[in-house]
Subunit: 317 residues, 2 copies
């Protein structure tokens, strides 16, 4: 778990690490939210399984998803692009067409950046968003009795990645959800307008179980979900069955779905459209060794620190 | 000149490219300046010629230098670090010690970022600064009669890079200026407090001649400097002579000195300490084919588009 070691070292080395920890940081001096995410070729994407246009779109979308998790409205991005010498003008042109299309869709402006050489393609984007609510979103705000609510289905992006990597047939919507995810900007906007208290929010970029466990740790509460309530596309179940895979692994541990996951009080949930916002469980008691309990029809599973560390994807391998 | 092709394509692809072009972008909605710069291993630095501590320092300093060129006061950075699997905890710890030291020196807070795997070390930093003046700084603001003013000497960093790459002896201050440059924050602050008009400013990260030529093009004015007035360290001249190099090439075309270069009216210059701010020339007439004239004791040289394109360093080779 090198990533956790590194994050611990970074927090220790900084004189002030108070702005580190959530998907975005809130800068009070400027009343804004900021986030930076980097996509590295052969770690986060392969040029064999996406197009420059879709890569441009996704590199913006994943950053806007972090702003959505802070209930912020996206306003500006800066783009730092590093490319090897074999990359030509058409690649850059298509990549920026994708960046521009997502920016136009959400009213975002590109405010500079740079372009440099490198051994492989790297896109590092910083996104800035405007505060939309008097209340704040952070993993630490989950509290006993909160409902656990998600904005869409899980496992699709991981199934898409698996199909692309293993050259397997699957339905177009599965591939599309992997190579062209949509940030949940309008859903974040709705919650920002309705909430009357601070709530726990995260995007599920690292997977459902990962998101739940991180909220559990940050808030020091255990979380319980009913697996049967988690929305899953029938195409994902069919694809998994055809290839002798347990689809539940895509759903629980597959990343990059870019849904939002909230822990919110029942009175806020009661104001929402339950087709758009799906309740999958509840926040349990305060807990010094917090865990995530996943209930199935006839059994249950507990995600503890050991299981979390063994399961979560390691980019540094 | 792939970089210029790429920048042209990017401007064409964006629906709104009005925030692209200077060292920083000014975001009116938040009244702040923003810049992002990426350092790539084996393009911008080698782990054989610097330490992780100095690399951490430099990766922050080069971004603060861009804020200085906008006359902004640095406030926050985000840091995206990509490292190969062989990088250990000590490397990350030392890198962040360097980042933290520069941040503390200038009152800057780290506001998040990410850490991912990659084939080589890449550090992408976004820096945010506060406006300090009612007036703005941009290359386009150079006007006839402005004095061309610099904050320190030229050629040292390039000499340091040459010494490191070729394993040559040189004085410690030459190496230091390459591996540990200091952003001109206090000089920017002085100008921000004194100026009563918009002025042309850039940092000289890509070299003296490059900075002058870019101001000439952006402002559509030709610029003239007296080479003998450009401050040059005697150590650089001695190092060049010892190694049969024309030191003038380090001074004119060597990058990474991170001085500031201003075009400012004489009445502003008259308020400055001339040991700290050195006048090296003057902005000439408006010119549709702007150039830079460098005068020597008995000759002169004209930098035109062709010479500029042939001389400037190409990261994409």
């Amino acid at each position: 778990m090198k990533e956790f070691d590194f994050l611990k070292i970074i927090s220790e080395k900084l004189t002030d690490s108070s702005l580190i920890g959530d998907d975005c940081a809130y800068l009070e001096d400027f009343d804004l939210f900021i986030t930076q995410d980097t996509l590295v070729e052969n770690v986060h994407f392969s040029l064999y399984t996406t197009s420059p246009y879709l890569l441009g779109r996704k590199s913006v979308s994943v950053n806007l998803s972090d702003l959505a998790a802070a209930l912020a409205a996206p306003k500006f991005i800066t783009v730092s692009l590093s490319v090897p010498s074999h990359i030509n003008n058409d690649f850059v042109s298509e990549l920026y067409r994708g960046i521009n299309d997502v920016c136009n869709q959400y009213g975002v402006k590109v405010a500079g950046g740079d372009i440099t050489g490198s051994d492989n393609v790297i896109i590092s984007i910083t996104a800035i968003g405007k505060r939309q609510s008097l209340f704040f979103a952070s993993r630490k705000y989950a509290k006993k009795g909160d409902l656990i609510v998600v904005t869409g289905n899980f496992g699709k992006s991981a199934a898409g990645l698996y199909a692309l990597s293993e050259f397997l047939y699957c339905e177009e919507d599965i591939i599309s959800s992997h190579v062209n995810p949509h940030p949940r900007i309008s859903e974040a906007n709705k919650i920002a307008n309705l909430t009357d208290c601070d709530i726990a929010v995260t995007d599920t970029s690292d997977g459902l179980a990962d998101s739940l466990y991180k909220i559990a740790v940050s808030s020091k509460h255990s979380l319980r979900i009913d697996f049967d309530k988690v929305p899953v596309s029938q195409n994902v179940i069919d694809f998994a069955n055809r290839n002798n895979i347990d689809y539940k692994n895509f759903v629980k541990w597959g990343g990059e779905d870019y849904e939002l996951l909230f822990c919110m009080p029942e009175n806020l949930y009661s104001k929402l459209n339950t087709n758009e916002f799906i309740c999958i469980g509840e926040v349990q008691n305060k807990d010094n060794s917090p865990s995530v309990i996943i209930e199935y029809a006839n059994s249950h599973e507990r995600i503890t620190q050991e299981i979390f560390e063994a399961k979560t994807f390691n980019h540094f391998k």
